[in-house]
């Protein structure tokens, strides 16, 4: 705990951060007063989900230095395996545990696939590449993304494989805003997963080892950590999280080859705003992006929903080149 306090107090010493938090609060209040409470509620729900999608991306970059352009495709894998599992369980649909089984299976599929991809691709690259690691892996993830999208089309076709809803029933009302049960489910899954990830990274032996690799690779080797295995594990966790998000959001993102495009863009926006490699920051930034989108959509028009955040992020970066909560992970990303 004291660690978190230390970090927070350091963040707050920066006037930029303080100013930004004040700005976000102002935006939220403005939105609520001029628009309605739904801006706040919807931003919270959407933000939690974006945070989940982005956390894996941040983790992969922080630990492995891989800016993953294929993160959206692992989301796609999640929607697909979620759909296949859910329809396979059609005999027992309606039982409340079925959605949970579905998303857990998606998590497992994403995890295993991520591990395989790391072993087949990134482990091989690590043996060979000396310089330009970040950009080379970036290009490779572009290739992975192309392969996964089109493999989906070849094997499972182009149909929209989706569901109406995990949970039937009337929406619940929060602050006068109706929220469908599925979205309540999604925000709960997001909250639990993020808390789980946070616990894993902060307090477990493996989580510490992952952080150790991200902070100092030779140091990690020196204390006996199998760095390669930790990187494989990291990529697997990150892919698993993306797949989990995909399966959880199946009601909103039916599975088809290109379903990962939107989550990918959002995840990148969030991660850049937070500072690459900063998992905790990604969670906060997820909410900020959601709030920005909602306000833009309401006050300027939906068509501008991504123009404004993109432009704003570039401006924020101009003031603070490592993102809002960026750490100096220079040695990795300056290549």
């Amino acid at each position: 705990m004291s660690l978190a306090v230390q970090r927070l107090s350091r963040e707050f010493r920066s006037p930029v951060t303080t100013g930004l938090i004040a700005g976000v609060l102002a935006l939220a209040i403005f939105g609520v007063v001029r628009g309605g409470t739904f801006i706040l509620v919807d931003s919270l729900v959407t933000g939690a989900i974006w945070a989940l999608v982005a956390a894996g991306l941040a983790l992969t970059f922080g630990v492995m230095g891989v800016p993953n352009f294929a993160q959206g495709e692992f989301f796609m894998v999640g929607t697909l395996s979620g759909y296949l599992v859910y329809t396979a369980l059609s005999g027992v649909q309606g039982r409340p545990y079925v959605p949970f089984v579905t998303i857990l299976m998606a998590l497992v599929v994403g995890f295993v696939l991520g591990a395989l991809v790391d072993l087949a691709v990134f482990s091989q690259m690590r043996r060979r590449i000396r310089e330009g690691w970040v950009m080379n892996t970036f290009v490779v993830t572009v290739g992975i993304s192309v392969v996964m999208i089109n493999a989906h089309q070849l094997i499972w076709g182009t149909d929209y494989k989706g569901i109406v809803a995990y949970f039937d029933g009337p929406p619940i009302h929060v602050l006068g805003v109706s929220v469908a049960l599925d979205r309540v489910f999604a925000i709960s899954v997001a909250a639990v997963s993020i808390a789980g990830l946070w616990w894993l990274l902060s307090y477990s032996r493996i989580g510490r080892a992952i952080r150790a690799v991200s902070q100092d690779e030779p140091g990690a080797l020196m204390v006996g950590i199998n760095v390669g295995r930790m990187r494989t594990l990291t990529f697997a966790i990150s892919s698993g999280l993306a797949a989990l998000a995909g399966a959880t959001l199946l009601f909103q993102f039916p599975s088809f080859p290109f379903v990962g495009v939107k989550p990918l863009y959002v995840a990148w926006t969030v991660v850049i705003l937070a500072g690459l490699g900063n998992v905790g920051g990604a969670v906060v930034a997820g909410f900020i992006i959601a709030l920005l989108e909602a306000n833009t959509g309401f006050f300027i028009g939906s068509a501008w929903e991504d123009v404004v955040p993109f432009a704003l992020i570039v401006l924020i970066l101009a003031v603070r080149p490592t993102g809002l909560f960026g750490r100096a992970v220079r040695s990795v990303w300056e290549q």
Binding site: R205, A212, L221, V223, G224, R327
Partner: protein, 236 residues
Amino acid sequence: MLRVTELDAGYGFLRVVHGISLQVNQGELVALLGPNGAGKSTTLKCIAGLVRPWKGDIAFRGHSIGGLRGDLVNGLGIGLVSESLNLFTGMTVYENLLMGAYSVPEAEKRRRSLDFVFSLFPRLAERRPQLAGTLSGGERKMLAIGRALMGGPSLLLVDEPSLGLAPKLTQQVFDALRKLSDDGLTILLVEQNVTATLEMVDRAYVLEQGEIVLEGSAQKLSESEHVKDVYLGVMA
């Protein structure tokens, strides 16, 4: 305990170490001396598995460990305190020490190691919840040594412990190393500070331009003309 034979190593096209051989016996405190760029650190990294040797053999307790990955070398009981320390700057002192005992499964053993490190460096106990990145230079060095000790090594490799430290702090670190050696730990030390080192070690090798030019007991080396001319002369 450690025997290095005809070791060649380097980076890219650049060969840094030319066929050196050395040996460290059980319980000894041995130093590898030499000027900057002589290949001392590279040798140490080869032993620790951070740099892959091009040629030659490294044997630990009779088993060849040349080219073994760093984490596996660590698992065999070889601890390394590198020149740049390689601390986990975003973790607390306590977490760093805990990471040092990463491959020690027994909680009891970990706790005993921790107590030992804290008794050796009481300063670290005071700094326990602080982030490693916020420590002073001397404290970092202590933490790096402490972290290496947490794994319960039977051989400790220490790279330039005096680097960047004030003489007083250097002395403290050297005292600690001497004490560890007296307690029976085998230590291989790389140093540029020849005078202070020769005062405390049992034996030493002098490495120049990747080759061993002199070796022998500390006594013998302090009396050698070459050492006097090149190193002690400069120091004086």
